[in-house]
Structures are given as structure tokens and as C-alpha cells.
């Protein structure tokens, strides 16, 4: 009964969203406040409907209601409770429902932010959001109904794909979806601006916190997905340039560019048309990502539940929204007036370079991902575009970006002083050189380029510190004053510095990967193998049987070179019984920021195959991304985004170098 109610709620949400698409936009045209306000009411109502429907499906999973096809195919009564819940979105239908839920959550939030948004912008944006919701609700109802029944109901479910039975599933997809779908707000705002035919700093200020939120969630989603792959897939890689990874990277690159161009628009009213274009592009790439994952046009490790029919439907949605968005852009963008002037050497100039490089990277990833498809369609030749291509090209674009980042931050708006910026960065540069030399002196092995990577990472990270310290400390300023000055800097300044610091930290982690080691041996209990500066001893192999799998656990004792213990770790090989599917659970021991990573292989004559990795400072890669996301969230709470109508500050602000 609850299931039918959930299904009905979804249909109701569709009806409400159709109203939401039409009425507020019409109201904005006629300048009718009551009609515009309908948008907010509809957004809240459709959120309530979709939330109810999501709860209904979750309930079916929790009680293992095997009369529902979706539950049968993806759940099992003996599965741990947490995986019953996360299993709701561990499949195509459920994850689409989550997608729609996040979409309506965002629309509801827009509906609630009456104070900080101009009425017509809000009404038009809600209309666009409504249209997106209509398309995806139709998609769910027509092609991917999670509520369809099965008769007769089987006694047991087919269990969730074992790879997905992991806390990672609780974290990675929701974060990623919030990021993907959050970009729809920027898209809706861009279209709303085009419908109105005008755009200004107020628009930029309204769209910035939403973009920041979406970007920060996307950053977290991608990085958590990468860590999940790292520990789950068992060979210690964290980024594979898989098409689906690329599909999440492209919106991230576009969103990062958007984040920076919106700043220019807010401050200087420049780059308007470009910013609108990026806002359309970022969400379009999210849709492309959805299409690539679910249509099966590209082979990928993520391609669960693919179906050509669904692919065609999503392709239709894609065409309507991307085509419609770009058509509207081509038609209305010439109406938008261009803004302020600036010199090439200025903060704006630096941000233009940032946008140039980010969009080039984004375009390169897009072309690299789709090129094999296009080539095969065009001349029938089959080629592969893999990690070597992306590492080379994206690396070449990232290099100038990283080197220029600290300089850009030191330039003033309108007209910057390149020499002055370089002087202020002397300390950072010197420290980076020291880091390179120290690495050369102390590190053994590894490619020659790796110490340079360390230097670049250090330069970016220290440059971010200089960003703050340079604004707080000055010649002859007492420490106390400087500290209170630093604390008084706006949150957006701190957020920016934190995010840039995170970029440096991630680069350090990537560079350190060069000194990782890999050992491949056959071991039997009592055998020892060296792993980096440690020695691992296989103590015993224990078979174990749990609810829905059985496993062989290898228990390893780790000792340092001087013989002292560094703890133990368990690596296991599991067999999930329902699907008869083996998985490897890597044993990971974290020592400081480094990790020892062990995975078990096949039983060999004379023991078991064991792969041992030493991964120095590997955690920096993800810690850096946490800094980036935290910076995004912190900047989002900046005072000028929180207050609605801007008011003059009561206390005169101290002068700070912009």
C-alpha cells in the first residue's frame, strides 16, 4: 500500500512540477507577484511528494519487501541494515529517484530563499527547475519505475552487487548527486537571466553561493569516490580516467571555471556572456555524465543497469535542455551588455587565464572521452584513449595553471603590479626551491620530475598562506593587530585561501606517489616481505564466515627497520554467496599520512599471492580535496551572501589589498 502511495506521490509531483514550469514564468512576464509566488509553493509541494516517495522505497528496502522487483534485484534479507538503506540508490531506478529528490530539495531551497533573491529571477529560475524536474520525473515513471511489483514474490532477494556493499556507497553517490544537481541552479539562474534579458552583479552575487555549494559537494563526491576505488578495487589506483570518472570531472572543471568567472562578474561586471555560457555548460556536462553512465554507450566500471531505451530517453532530455539552453543563449545573449574594462595584468586578467585553461582542460577531457565513439562512427576505426593520453594532455594544461595560481591571487583588480606580486611571492618561491632540493637530497629513487612536483605543490600551498598573511601582516604592524586583521578578513578570502592551499596539498600527494613501492610475492604463514621502510610478516590465514559472504583473512604483522612493531593489518578475499562473486578487501595500515596497502591474490603452489604497496603521503591527495571543499563551504557563508538586501557596513572596513 505504501508502495502504491509512493508511486502515486511521484505522479503527483510530476503534475505539480508541470504547474511549476509554466505559472511562475508567466507571472514574471506579467509582473504578477501572486503567480510568481506559485513557483515557490509548487517547489515545496513537489519536494514533499518526492521525499515521501523516497521514504516509501526506503521502507520497502528496510523491511525487505520482495514483492517489489527493484528490492528483489538489489537486496537480500541477510544484508546488514546500512547496506539495505544505501542499496536504495545502489541501482539505476533508486539512484534516479535520489537524483530527482536532490533536484527538488534544491528547488525547495531556492523557493525558501526569498530574501536573498530578486523576485523575478527566483520565479524564472524555479520555472526552469520545474522543467528539469518534469523531464526526469517522466524518465523515472516511464522507463525506470522503482515501484513495479513482482508476482509471485520470491522468498529471497538477489543481493546487492558486493562491490557496492561498502560505506562508500553511503557517501559517494549522494555527494556527487548534490554536486551534479546543484549545478542545475546555476543553469536555471542563467536561463532566467536570459529570459529576462538582463544580468548584473546582483545576479552574480545570488548565483555564487549556490555554485560554491555545488562545486564543494562535487569536489567531495569525486574525491570520496576516488578513495573508495582506491581501497576497494585492490590495486591501489585512485584515478583511472574511466569514462564515468571523466563524466564527473568535466562538470567539475566547468564549475571551477564558473566559480572564478562569477567572481569577476560580481566585482567588475565583466565576462557576463561567458559566465552565462559556463553556467549552461556546467549543468549540460552533468547531464552528459548521466547519459554516459546510464546509456551504456561507453564501457565503464560504473555501467550498472544500462539499457538502450533509457539511453534514448536521456538523450532526448539532453537534447532539449542543452539544445534549448544554447539556443536561448544564442538568441538572447547579444542583449546582455558588456561590463567593465581591465588591464591584462590584473586579477580579472588572471581569472580569464584561469578560465581559458580550465575550459581547455574540460574540452580536452570531453574530446578524449568521446573521440573513440566519433571515430568509430565516422570511419569505423577502433582506437582507445586511455590514461597515458589524459595524463599527458591534462598534465600539460595543469602545469601553467598551478604555476600562475599564486601570482593571480597577488594581483589587484583592474590594474595589477606583476613585479610587486612576484616580490610578495619571493618567500613562497624560495621555500618551494628548498623543498625541491631537500627532496632531491633525501629521497631515493623515483623519477626526476617528482621533486619538481613537490616544489610546485609547495609553491601553491605556501602561496595560499601568503594570500592571507600578506593581507594581514605589513611592515611595522604589531603581531596582535596583524592577527586580528587576519581574523577580520572576510570568509570568502579565507575560503579561497583554504581551497588553494588544498590544491597545493593534493599536488604534493600526487608527487609523492612517485616514491611508492610495489612488491609481488608468494607467501605462506611465517614468510616476510619488505614493503617500503617496513617488513610485513604473514602470521596466519583464517577462514571466516559471515551473514552473506565468507572470506579468507590474511593477518600481517608490520615491523619497522629497527624491529619495533608498527601494528597489524588484515587483508581478505571474500566470496559473496548469492552472486557467487569474489572481491578483495585490501588491508590498509595508516602510519601518519602514509599507508601500507596489502591485497591478497590467488592461492599458488607454496602459498598465496600477495601484493604489498607502500604509499608515502598518499592521504595528502584526499586531504587536499577536503581543504578545497571546506574552503568552498566557508566562502559560501560569507556575510554578503547571507544578508539579503545589501546594507552599508556599520563600522568602516579596514583597507585591505584586494
Amino acid at each position: 500500500m505504501l508502495i502504491e502511495a509512493g508511486h502515486y506521490a511521484l505522479v503527483l509531483a510530476l503534475a505539480v512540477c508541470i504547474v511549476q514550469t509554466i505559472v511562475p514564468v508567466w507571472g514574471a512576464r506579467r509582473d504578477d507577484a501572486a503567480l510568481m509566488e506559485m513557483g515557490a509553493a509548487c517547489a515545496l509541494a513537489s519536494f514533499a511528494c518526492v521525499a515521501f516517495s523516497f521514504v516509501a522505497l526506503s521502507h520497502a528496502y528496510l523491511v525487505s519487501d520482495f514483492s517489489i522487483r527493484n528490492v528483489v534485484e538489489n537486496s537480500h534479507s541477510q544484508k546488514p541494515l546500512i547496506y539495505k538503506l544505501t542499496g536504495v540508490w545502489g541501482n539505476h531506478e533508486g539512484s534516479m529517484l535520489l537524483w530527482v529528490l536532490v533536484l527538488t530539495v534544491f528547488a525547495a531551497l531556492v523557493a525558501l530563499s526569498r530574501r536573498s533573491l530578486p523576485a523575478r529571477l527566483r520565479a524564472n529560475a524555479l520555472g526552469v527547475q520545474g522543467a528539469i524536474a518534469v523531464a526526469f520525473l517522466l524518465f523515472v515513471l516511464v522507463t525506470s519505475n522503482p515501484f513495479s511489483r513482482l508476482s509471485p514474490a520470491p522468498f529471497e532477494g538477489r543481493d546487492l552487487n558486493p562491490i557496492l556493499q561498502d560505506p562508500g556507497l553511503a557517501i559517494h553517490p549522494p555527494l556527487l548527486y548534490i554536486g551534479y544537481v546543484g549545478l542545475s541552479i546555476a543553469f536555471a539562474f542563467a536561463l532566467a537571466a536570459l529570459i529576462e534579458g538582463r544580468i548584473d552583479a546582483v545576479w552574480a552575487r545570488a548565483v555564487r553561493p549556490w555554485t560554491l555549494a555545488a562545486w564543494a559537494f562535487l569536489t567531495l563526491g569525486i574525491s570520496m569516490g576516488s578513495y573508495w576505488a582506491y581501497y576497494e578495487l585492490g590495486w591501489g589506483g585512485f584515478w583511472f580516467w574511466d569514462p564515468v570518472e571523466n563524466a564527473s570531472l568535466m562538470p567539475w572543471l566547468a564549475a571551477t571555471a564558473l566559480l572564478h568567472s562569477v567572481v569577476v562578474m560580481e566585482r567588475r561586471e565583466a565576462l557576463k556572456v561567458w559566465t552565462i555560457f559556463l553556467a549552461i555548460l556546467a549543468f549540460s556536462l552533468s547531464l552528459v555524465g548521466t547519459f554516459l553512465v546510464r546509456s551504456g554507450v561507453l564501457t565503464s566500471v560504473h555501467a550498472f543497469a544500462t539499457d538502450p531505451g533509457r539511453g534514448a530517453f536521456i538523450l532526448g532530455i539532453l537534447t532539449v535542455f542543452i539544445g534549448g539552453g544554447l539556443a536561448l543563449f544564442a538568441w538572447r545573449a547579444p542583449l546582455l551588455r558588456q561590463g567593465g574594462l581591465f588591464a591584462p595584468i590584473s586579477r580579472e586578467g588572471a581569472l580569464v587565464v584561469n578560465n581559458l585553461l580550465f575550459s581547455t582542460a574540460c574540452g580536452t577531457v570531453l574530446i578524449g572521452t568521446l573521440y573513440p565513439l566519433a571515430l568509430e562512427a565516422a570511419i569505423g576505426a577502433k582506437i582507445s584513449v586511455g590514461p597515458p593520453f589524459f595524463n599527458l594532455t591534462v598534465g600539460a594544461i595543469a602545469l601553467p595553471l598551478l604555476l600562475l595560481l599564486p601570482f593571480g591571487q597577488q594581483l589587484a583588480w583592474k590594474r595589477g603590479d606583476a613585479l610587486g606580486a612576484a616580490q610578495r611571492l619571493m618567500a613562497a618561491f624560495a621555500l618551494a626551491i628548498v623543498a625541491v632540493l631537500a627532496t632531491f637530497a633525501f629521497a631515493r629513487g623515483g623519477p626526476v620530475l617528482a621533486p619538481i612536483g613537490v616544489g610546485i605543490g609547495a609553491f601553491v600551498a605556501i602561496g595560499a598562506v601568503v594570500e592571507i598573511s600578506g593581507r594581514a601582516f605589513g611592515r611595522g604592524v604589531p603581531l596582535r593587530v596583524a592577527l586580528s586583521r587576519a581574523l577580520g578578513l572576510p570568509r570568502s578570502a579565507w575560503g579561497t585561501a583554504a581551497a588553494h592551499f588544498g590544491v597545493g596539498v593534493t599536488v604534493l600527494g600526487l608527487a609523492a606517489a612517485a616514491w611508492g613501492t610495489e612488491t609481488l610475492v608468494v607467501m605462506k604463514p611465517g614468510d616476510r616481505a619488505s614493503v617500503g621502510p617496513y617488513v610485513a610478516t604473514l602470521e596466519r590465514v583464517v577462514p571466516r564466515s559471515l551473514a552473506n559472504y565468507r572470506e579468507d583473512v590474511g593477518v600481517f604483522a608490520l615491523t619497522r627497520a629497527d624491529g619495533t612493531s608498527a601494528g597489524t593489518l588484515d587483508a581478505s578475499k571474500r566470496l559473496y554467496l548469492t552472486r557467487n562473486m569474489p572481491t578483495t578487501e585490501a588491508g590498509i595500515r595508516t602510519v601518519g599520512l602514509s599507508q601500507i596497502y596489502v591485497s591478497l591474490g590467488e592461492a599458488e603452489p607454496g602459498g598465496i599471492g600477495v601484493r604489498l604497496y607502500y604509499k608515502p603521503f598518499v592521504l595528502l591527495i584526499w586531504i587536499g580535496s577536503l581543504f578545497m571543499a571546506a574552503g568552498g563551504f566557508w566562502a559560501m557563508t560569507d556575510r554578503r551572501f547571507r544578508v539579503g538586501a545589501p546594507v552599508r557596513a556599520a563600522v568602516p572596513q579596514r583597507e585591505a589589498r584586494a
Binding site: D200, A201, V202, L233, G234, W235, F240, D242, P243, T299, S300, V301, T306, D307, P308, Q338, G339, L356, S359, T360, G363, T364, I367, G368, Y371, L375, I379, K382, I383, S384, V385, G386, P388, F389, A396, I397, P490, A493, L520, M581, T583, T584, S599, G601, E602, E604, G609, R611, R640, A645, P646, V647, R648, A649, Q653, R654, E655, A656, R657, A658
Partner: protein, 159 residues
């Protein structure tokens, strides 16, 4: 058709998570220099029955055959290029994860440069057009003008 596709996907899915243990200890060559070359070669060769994996990462039997083949050729004294050529002759260019530079991949390899150049050209055109004085001025209502002025006053002294 759909059923066959499903079955193929299922098979692929099943092949994937199992592929967690690639190079087996018995494959490793005694000569470390040769082994290093073998590893870096296999990292750039695609496992043909997997989803987007190099033969170095894959556990599929075909990947193992290919790894052994690469090592055999290396032992026979082939250069890296010769080994690559040998594998391509057997399996086609699809096997190379680094697409070769040629007429059919020209656009791919030049994509970053072309995109960057297009962007630069756009910026240059914009800067030129901007340099000419514009008669247009933003049309704002008085209320928006006040809002903007206030926003400017609030934010202009911040970084």
C-alpha cells in the same frame, strides 16, 4: 538482443571485480630491467575483454596471455616499439591505451592546442572590441542602482 546485451554486461561486471590481482608472481621476469620495461609496456596495453583496464591491472586470462606474450618478446630481444607493433598487428590499434599519432587521431592530439588557441583568439577579439569606446550604458532602475551602489560599497574593500 536485450537479453544478450544484459548477459554480456553481467559477464563484464563479473569479470571486473575479480580482476583485482593482475601480474602473478610466476610471470615476473628474473631480469629487473626487463621486468620494469614489461610493466610499463603492459600499463599502456588495453585488456580487450575488460572494461577500460590495462593488462597490467587485469586478472582476465586474456590479459595474462598478453602479459606473457609481451615478456616473451622482450626476452627475445625486441625493442619496446617492436613489442607494441607486434601486439597491434595481432589485435589492432584498439589495444593501445595511448592512441598513436596519425591522420585519424590528429584532431584528438591537437585538441588541447586548438581549444587553447580558440580561447586565446576569443580573448584577443574581446579585448580589441573592448578597447573601442562603447556608447552603451547599463540600463538600471533607480532601485537597482542603489542596491548596486550599496553592494559595491560593502564589497569593494574586500579581497
Amino acid at each position: 538482443m536485450i537479453r544478450a546485451l544484459r548477459a554480456a554486461l553481467l559477464a563484464a561486471l563479473l569479470a571486473w571485480p575479480a580482476s583485482v590481482f593482475a601480474v602473478q608472481p610466476d610471470e615476473v621476469l628474473p631480469d629487473p630491467a626487463l621486468e620494469t620495461r614489461a610493466r610499463s609496456l603492459s600499463a599502456e596495453l588495453r585488456c580487450l575483454v575488460c572494461q577500460n583496464q590495462s593488462i597490467d591491472d587485469s586478472d582476465a586470462p586474456l590479459a595474462r596471455d598478453l602479459r606473457l606474450l609481451v615478456r616473451e618478446r622482450l626476452k627475445a630481444g625486441d625493442t619496446d616499439a617492436a613489442v607494441r607493433g607486434f601486439v597491434v598487428a595481432r589485435y589492432g590499434e584498439f589495444v593501445l591505451l595511448r592512441p598513436p599519432f596519425g591522420a585519424h587521431t590528429l584532431l584528438l592530439w591537437l585538441a588541447p592546442a586548438l581549444l587553447g588557441a580558440a580561447g586565446l583568439f576569443g580573448v584577443w577579439r574581446l579585448a580589441r572590441r573592448r578597447a573601442e569606446p562603447s556608447a552603451e550604458d547599463a540600463v538600471l532602475t533607480p532601485q537597482e542602482r542603489a542596491e548596486l551602489a550599496a553592494a559595491g560599497a560593502e564589497t569593494s574593500d574586500r579581497g
